[in-house]
């Protein structure tokens, strides 16, 4: 019936217009199907109605659309008069240049007011037009189902139309007078800076000669050379060698063969070096440790070379191009991921301007660790390390953003970059291993020592991982590994590393690691500026971080496994780390260590270091320490460890720092570098070993009166012992045992490996935790007091510590796996000397 209405209306219109030949009608409908129906109905009308449809281009299964060509043809005919009725969908509402029509019929009223206005606007332009809107007054069961859908109840279409009309009217009322009456305008700041004052200029544009735009550029026909010389035999051989017809080039040009030669621009013939090439050169120089400053680049660039500093964002993109080989691949993939990857590449161009900036960066890198910065030891921090305030400020910020900011502000020295490269290398494999396997990596001492030493020797850093270069390249390949890790890709670490160093980094961990790396980089750069020794230390320290991480988690796992109540242990462990979280190991001191130290101070009173007993203490401690490691780490559940990875990591950092701080505060040991080292390492190991139980033992003595002189004495001794790591551990165990069993016999620890299980079982973790908290508070007080511990760290030989820690750890592993009941004495001397997780961050 609508169609009949339409046809009737059309007749009327056509009859009324002065020139029936030139009158046009357009019918709008929502659906293509209804367009078809209308077309069918109009077909019956016959002359003078010549209708055609006008729909969109999309082709569905039921109806194929009209391509643009077809549409244009329809409009052309409509204009000429071949058609005088167009049945269109919404395509004809606005935009297309359809000539003005005399009648607009809206088959649907159920559209938005704007679209209705558009439809209506098809007429009434040059002369009066007419708009007819059709709607269904009542529900018609006989109609198409789609119509039914529109009209749920009688007259709804009309109602809807009226509603929309009213809405449209309201809006137009509001928009009167430019909307000032109805809207609150925000005083927006001026977008154009006040520097620019746009002025009106009267310019007469004169076009001298009109050059009509040609449809197609005249195409030169392809030249045709009838004869093509045949290739000589020699040429054919050459082709065969380099370009296999199978498509696989047996001889592929390698981009990475001569990295050293990429550190300076090659001679050019006619084509000068581009900016990207200069950037590559800079990058290579940085990576290989040559003296280069970004400023130099600017001045020495062969040609245009825009200022690298100015084009920071440019560098971001360009940096990707710099490293052609492996880096480019990895970097490009990292484009999307706004992570430290980019910042790493930027770091190559970072200048250390401001300590604060660096610290901020560092903070950002350790957002997790920063949490408790303020709560804990503010006074402990060494100046170069980020102050607490900064850390908190940057905490939780977008790392990438922060690093980007830092990028703009700061620059790293090239040497630092090299060391950073090493650091990264050192970092990633260990962390990776730790994460994936939960086992302390074989981490050969050699590797780490080399790396840590090699920090100053990384001149031959080679970027690509694929190259099987010497060990020297490990840092860079590590770097690459890191980069890939950050992307979450599984990159085969360079063969330099042991197989354990496969960088199967979880993204988060890798990100964290990268942050740390960045931190280390920046910090190194800064420290390098200020204090070379410190920087070295810090470098070492950071380099040792992974080791710490690797070692500590081991212990943690063991404890977890051993403790029957894994949950409580885990909780406690988690609680403790969270409590003792610090931004960076370098700056922070773990509460545990401090508590421990404090307790030591309390118990021992004053410096009661007796060197005599160190030996025997070591032995005994070692035994007990070895006890800890009886259970192979492999048995521990990696899954359990994974969630605690960060906690472990943090704690490891904390322990390191805390131990240092503890030492300083206690002032009980002579500033002996070895002692410091061991103390540091011992502190670290303490921390690593400290899961709830460790903390408790420290507190035990304080809360419960020292069970015996031997105990306290041992505590002291262990604390001061140069190899103190073991002793400390032993003491902890002692305390725990004492707390539980109230054992007075400390030396008993030397014996049983099986004691551990019982030891853990008997631990009252809650009590331990409480004790740990009190200890922690004490340490807080202590931390505020000591500030002169910093110089100690400068002397720490972190390399040795690390090496020792690693070897010691290895030994422990071996022992634990073998489950020897043998007296650990034979091992003790070695372990004593080596067991020091030398992950001192040089605080």
């Amino acid at each position: 019936m609508d169609v009949m209405l339409i046809s009737g209306t059309i007749f009327v219109v056509l009859a009324e217009t002065n020139d029936p030949k030139s009158s046009r009608v357009i019918i709008f409908s929502n659906y293509r199907e209804s367009v078809r129906d209308i077309m069918g109905a109009l077909g019956n009308v016959g002359e003078p109605v010549r209708a055609t449809e006008f729909i969109g281009q999309s082709s569905g299964k039921a109806m194929k659309g009209q391509s643009q060509k077809v549409q244009q043809a329809v409009l052309k005919k409509f204009r000429s008069g071949a058609y005088n009725v167009i049945v269109a969908t919404s395509i004809g509402e606005e935009g297309l240049d359809i000539m003005e029509v005399d009648l607009v019929i809206s088959f649907d009223a159920n559209i938005s007011p704007l679209r209705m206005i558009q439809r209506m606007g098809r007429t009434g332009r040059k002369h009066d037009g007419r708009v007819d809107i059709l709607w269904l007054p009542v529900l018609c069961t006989g109609l198409l189902t789609m119509r039914k859908a529109i009209d749920v109840d009688g007259g709804s279409e009309l109602k809807a139309y009226m509603r929309k009309k009213a809405k449209s009217k309201t809006i137009s009322k509001h928009m009167q007078n430019g909307g000032v009456d109805s809207f609150n305008f925000h005083p927006s700041p001026r977008m154009i800076p006040h520097v620019f004052k746009p002025e009106v200029q009267y310019v007469e544009l004169s076009i001298e000669k009109f050059i009509p735009r040609e449809k197609n550029v005249k195409d030169v026909p392809l030249p045709f050379y009838p004869s093509i010389d045949k290739l000589t035999v020699a040429e054919m051989d050459l082709l065969e060698m380099y370009f296999q017809t199978t498509g696989e080039n047996t001889c592929r040009m390698s981009l990475i063969s001569y990295p050293y030669f990429q550190t300076f621009p090659s001679r050019v013939h006619k084509v000068k070096h581009s900016l990207r090439a200069m950037m590559l050169i800079d990058t290579m120089r940085c990576l290989q440790g040559l003296e280069t400053c970004p400023g130099d680049n600017k001045t020495t660039s062969l040609q245009e070379g825009p200022c690298s500093v100015n084009s920071q964002p440019f560098i971001i993109s360009e940096a990707k191009h710099d490293t052609e080989s492996c880096f480019s691949h990895t970097m490009e993939t990292n484009v999307e991921t706004v992570n430290c990857m980019n910042s790493d590449s930027h770091h190559l161009r970072i200048q250390t301007k401001d300590t604060i900036d660096l610290t901020i960066q560092e903070d950002s890198t350790f957002d997790d660790l920063v949490e408790h910065q303020e709560d804990t030891f503010q006074g402990d921090e060494i100046v170069p390390e980020t102050p607490v305030a900064n850390k908190n400020v940057s905490n939780g910020g977008n790392n990438a953003g922060e690093t980007a900011n830092l990028l703009v502000k700061t620059r790293l020295f090239q040497e630092d970059v090299c060391t950073n490269g090493i650091r990264e290398g050192e970092f990633s494999p260990r962390l990776t291993d730790f994460i994936t396997s939960g086992v302390v990596p074989e981490s050969p001492v050699d590797d780490e020592q080399e790396k840590s030493r090699g920090k100053s020797v990384i001149r031959d850093c080679i970027l690509p991982v694929q190259l099987h270069k010497e060990h020297d390249t490990s840092p860079l390949s590590c770097e690459k590994v890191v980069i890939d890790g950050s992307t979450g890709k599984n990159v085969t670490s360079s063969p330099v590393y042991n197989g354990t160093r496969t960088p199967l980094l979880e993204l988060k961990n890798s990100a964290i690691k990268r942050r740390r790396i960045i931190f280390s980089q920046t910090e190194e750069g800064h420290s390098h500026k200020s204090d070379s020794s410190f920087s070295e230390e810090s470098h070492l320290g950071s380099g040792k971080i992974p080791g710490t991480v690797s070692i500590k988690p081991l212990r943690k796992l063991k404890r977890l496994r051993k403790a029957e109540d894994g949950d409580s242990k885990v909780n406690q462990e988690n609680n403790d780390p969270t409590r003792y979280k610090h931004g960076q190991g370098k700056r922070k001191s773990t509460n545990n260590v401090k508590d421990f130290i404090e307790e030591e101070a309390e118990v021992s009173g004053d410096s009661n270091v007796s060197s005599d007993k160190d030996g025997e203490d070591d032995n005994s401690y070692e035994d007990s320490f070895i006890d800890d490691r009886t259970n192979p780490i492999g048995e521990s559940q990696p899954e359990v460890s994974r969630p605690d990875m960060m906690a472990i990591y943090r704690r490891s950092l904390l322990t390191q720092t805390q131990i240092n701080g503890g030492y300083g505060s206690s002032a009980m040991f002579s500033p002996d570098s070895v002692t410091n080292e061991s103390g540091v390492s011992s502190g670290k190991t303490v921390m690593s070993h400290v899961n709830g139980s460790c903390i408790a033992p420290e507190k035990v003595p304080s809360t419960s009166s020292p069970t015996g002189d031997t105990t306290s004495h041992k505590r002291r001794l262990s604390f001061y012992h140069s190899e103190g790591h073991l002793p400390i551990m032993n003491l902890e165990q002692e305390f725990a045992l004492q707390s539980k069993k109230e054992l007075v016999d400390a030396p008993d620890f030397t014996v049983d490996y099986e004691c551990d299980d019982q030891f853990y079982n008997d631990l009252d973790l809650d009590e331990l935790e409480a004790q740990a908290i009190s200890l922690h508070k004490k340490k807080l007080d202590m931390s505020t007091q000591k500030k002169d511990t910093n110089p100690f760290y400068n002397d720490l030989d972190l390399d040795e510590l690390e090496a020792q820690a690693i070897s010691l750890h290895k030994k422990k592993l071996d022992m634990s796996t073998q489950k020897k009941d043998t007296n650990p004495l034979p091992h003790s001397p070695k372990e004593d000397s080596f067991w020091s997780p030398s992950f001192d961050l040089g605080i």
């Binding site: 392809l222 030249p223 050379y225 001889c251 030669f261 621009p265 013939h269 581009s274 590559l280």
Partner: protein, 103 residues
């Protein structure tokens, strides 16, 4: 030294070879993806191999000529520094990264 360029036919042949290979690759991929486009025809824009304009071909010849000349000259410099009279691929590898970045 006369500025002899590559023969356009040669360059064209090389390019066509490359493009047809790429097109086959793409078609293979498309077949794998099992796109059934309603309007899909064998000569759709995607599946048609790339073609080159006459002017574009000339320009490409010139560009390739410049590229090869530059590569040869730079490698020759390296070879001279080394003392050999024949340019080896290793010499080319010396300059390759920067050369690629320059173009």
């Amino acid at each position: 030294m006369e500025e002899a360029g590559f023969e356009c036919a040669l360059i064209h042949a090389i390019l066509k070879r490359l493009w047809t290979a790429r097109t086959l690759e793409r078609e293979r991929i498309e077949a794998i993806e099992a796109l059934d486009s309603e309007a899909g025809a064998g000569t759709s824009k995607k599946s048609r191999p790339t073609s080159v304009n006459g002017n574009a071909l000339k320009l490409s010849c010139e560009l390739i000529r410049v590229f090869v000349t530059e590569a040869v000259q730079r490698a020759a410099a390296v070879a001279e520094a080394e003392g050999s009279t024949q340019i080896e691929p290793t010499h080319l590898e010396f300059i390759l990264p920067q050369l690629l970045l320059d173009f």
